[in-house]
Symmetry: C2
Subunit: 510 residues, 2 copies
């Protein structure tokens, strides 16, 4: 249907970087386990018709951006003030005409570039929390040093495939300058792919400019080197700030995820089916806009929904958002663009049983949905307000198990191993047989955190809980961390750029 | 293919019991979310052929039971000493000729009878641990009072559909007498269905006799009133004790689950495909035997497998056993009998993040597999050696969320609610709209344990972790517990029976 990659020389300046010795692993997941299909064809058609009705009858507000309204007029949409309405099928057709089904986001280390879409799964850290938590200091406002520590941890975890963006907010840096230090930190302390800023048009411009300094302007023009989140202000509004960022990234041909954020009962109705209708309508409106701005720009359908806890009034992720996520995956596959959705969410305030009960349930729903680009896969708790050091490494461990899960079951004569049964026979054991000896080192996923020893051994080892073991692990990892090499000329160019930009940006904290 | 229920008057003496006022809920799950299919038709056929080869070429040992060997000879199997070999397809044909695809296990309260097989899911507590754990006393050997407390908790949790059996071992009771106090406790403190003993033929006989006293002998003859576990001594052995119990239950027409227990790399080869071949061969051998003893006896395919942690050597449940479980579900559906498999397993020794990370991952794999009868769904940790009071209520909460998950997504005009969008429009909220107000009380699953409040509110509430909240909850539940009424004549008959049996059984503790 569409091109799956854009031409251009491969690697850019990144190829000139020396390759980092650590860590080695598959840079992303190519899944063998199929997605789970829980809605029927009839259900899916009903939801798609609902979205078409919503778009034609009620429409979407695109606020404070005359350029965008003119784009819609030119494309044949009905524009009434800032309200834009769409004939049935128009947005789907616009998207399917030019949006890639899959694309590659390049990393400065080409071995860590990630393929987004299709059967590929990319795990990305938490995004956006203003707070951090560790057993060492409990909860406090996040600082640049925390962000850098999380970038290092993401670099060191093979199951975290992408460096992400605002893993936590560096609140010690003035708001207008944060994006510069954030992006520089990703480039300096990791060689995985990273995200650009979307909180203002000029911050998106700065992000693209820093990508040009890193990869070379021609390479960025021809390839995806940044991904970004454009949130829809659900219900059915895209505001001026988001439109600014969307335009910058789309014009630069960099990846945009259009993410409705539907709090069921608040920013959307309370039912799953209505959330799917709304999410599909909202994501199609944003995704089609990217294609009208620059056909072929990589764009992802996004979907986040929460339930509402009827005692606390707070958003929460329970079984309803899990179902909605899996259902939305089916809609995204029919639309034919990659899906950004899901994560390792929790409402807990500490790395306790609730934190991992919720995170584990949700991350499996996430991969069953077929989501391709999974932000908040590591570290998120307190319903997204806080990034936890201990939960980051617990999630990373869990993600590595999920990665093994997605490899599925190999069925062939070797794996079935009838000779092993012939060798061992009834009532004996397979511990030393050839079939076991040939495989035992790599056949099982071995968690670095889970305690599987006896009660007595566990007691002898100090009787530690998982959170305390995770605390020790993340500190050991950070102690052992070595930065991947970065071309000094690129480093200097980035520092110069940041200095120039900071000299003209205000020092406000709001 | 086969009868799905046996004739007979409904309810038996149980109908004469007054109905308990609490707790009210669906007595089991009828799932709307389909099972997950991860193996292809070709994979499944290859595995089935592997099992046929194993059964024909290597065979299964049935030890210490001449009656069973004669049954196999009469059925046309090849018997060589205690080794029995089967022609391809013979066992499958025997099972499919008479084993019910679904059956009802009756509870003394008919409203709590459970349907096992097909799209039905029944959650059953932990089974077998010699230890118990609570934050109040840490870990110790389990006592009868602990077992009774767990029976009460299971009675009070609507998401635990069945009272189970040895939720923990009452180690303060002599071994030969434990089953009597165990079964009496299930009858006395709950009105849900329960399991019979299988650790010796005479204990199985006692279990059936107590069921006859409770339900009436005619009713038990015509209906399933007990379920039981018959473990295969993997690889490829069924020992004399298990055969004794199997024969008692099959002759009485009571449900048997045939459960291979495959520790990958030890009691089976290390690969998933080989575990599936072995599990299918072993469970078919046991299931067919029940049908030869009494055609139509309810029998379940069982399957438990673990990985092996290559650092500790301990069995562990990670992604490989999750995959094996889901794959085995497909094999069981092709075989056409209900599946007993899965659970909320963990290797943790305390109710921490590891406990619920592992339990949540595994219980979702369990329901994706289509398992029908899920023992160890609540309370199990320490790899099955210990039942935890806190984890029991955490698991029950998780099971309630899973129950909501399995209800799936309703798609219709009411649920899509286009009128709600018409009423609210872009940029507003749905909090007070008619569509939300009509639903908000019941639309979301609300956990009694998860904290979804703000950090500040959580701190004000004491800043408790999930385990501490679970500790308070299980004690409150036990404090509020009221026993369901039991017909005094039945109670007396049961007590008389137990007294007579205890007077002839030894007081050994080994």
């Amino acid at each position: 249907m569409t091109s799956t990659s854009r031409k251009g020389r491969r690697g850019g300046r990144a190829e000139r970087s020396e390759k980092s010795p650590a860590p080695t692993a598959a840079p992303y997941i190519k899944r063998s386990v199929p997605c789970h299909e829980i809605l029927t064809e009839e259900d899916l058609a009903t939801i798609e018709q609902g979205a078409d009705t919503l778009l034609k009858e009620i429409g979407v507000d695109f606020r404070g951006d005359e350029e965008v309204l003119q784009i819609w007029r030119d494309a044949g949409a009905s524009v009434d003030g800032e309200r834009v309405r769409f004939d049935a099928g128009m947005l789907r057709k616009t998207i399917q005409k030019s949006a890639p089904r899959e694309f590659t986001q390049h990393a400065r280390n080409p071995d860590r570039s990630v393929r987004i879409g299709g059967d590929n799964v990319v795990f990305v850290p938490a995004y956006g929390p203003p707070f951090v938590h560790s057993l060492d200091f409990e909860r406090r406002y996040a600082r640049l040093e925390d962000l850098q520590a999380f970038i290092k941890l993401a670099y060191l975890c093979p199951s975290v495939h992408h460096s992400g963006g605002v893993i936590c907010e560096p609140t010690d840096i003035p708001v207008p300058k944060r994006h510069l230090d954030t992006i520089y930190s990703h480039i300096k302390y990791s060689d995985k792919a990273f995200m650009g800023a979307a909180t203002a048009g000029e911050r998106a411009e700065d992000s693209v400019e820093m990508a040009r300094l890193l990869f070379g302007a021609d390479f960025v023009e021809a390839n995806c080197c940044l991904s970004s989140i454009v949130n829809v202000n659900s219900p059915l509004v895209v505001d001026a700030t988001m439109l600014e960022a969307l335009k910058v990234y789309a014009k630069a041909g960099q990846a945009v995820t259009i993410t409705p954020f539907i709090i069921a009962g608040a920013t959307g109705p309370s039912t799953i089916a209505s959330n799917l209708v709304q999410g599909l309508a909202e994501t199609m409106a944003g995704a089609a806009l990217t294609q009208l701005i620059r056909p072929g720009t990589p764009v992802m359908a996004g979907f986040l929904s929460t339930a509402t806890n009827m005692r606390s009034g707070a958003p929460s992720r329970g079984p309803e958002p899990m179902l909605a996520l899996i259902g939305f995956g089916q809609l995204a596959r029919r639309l034919g663009i990659p899906l950004r959705a899901g994560g390792s969410f929790s409402s807990s305030k500490i790395p306790d049983a609730q934190a991992m009960q919720e995170a584990s349930s949700f991350i499996y729903a996430t991969v069953l949905s077929g989501a391709n680009f999974i932000i908040h896969a590591a570290g998120s708790f307190e319903a997204g307000l806080c990034t936890s050091f201990e939960k980051f490494v617990m999630d990373a461990d869990n993600l590595a198990a999920v990665q093994r899960f997605l490899a599925g079951i190999a069925v062939n004569d070797d794996e079935i191993g009838l000779d092993a049964f012939r060798e061992v026979g009834p009532g004996s054991h397979f511990l030393g047989c050839h079939h076991t000896m040939a495989r035992y080192k790599h056949v099982f996923y071995t968690s670095p955190l889970a305690d599987t020893s006896s009660f007595e051994q566990w007691k002898d080892d100090g009787g530690l809980d998982a959170a305390t073991r995770a605390n020790r692990l993340h500190k050991k990892m950070l102690g052992d961390y070595e930065a991947p090499p970065l071309d000094p000329a690129i480093d200097e160019a980035l520092r110069d750029f940041i200095q120039r930009r900071k000299s003209v940006l205000p020092d406000s904290f709001a």
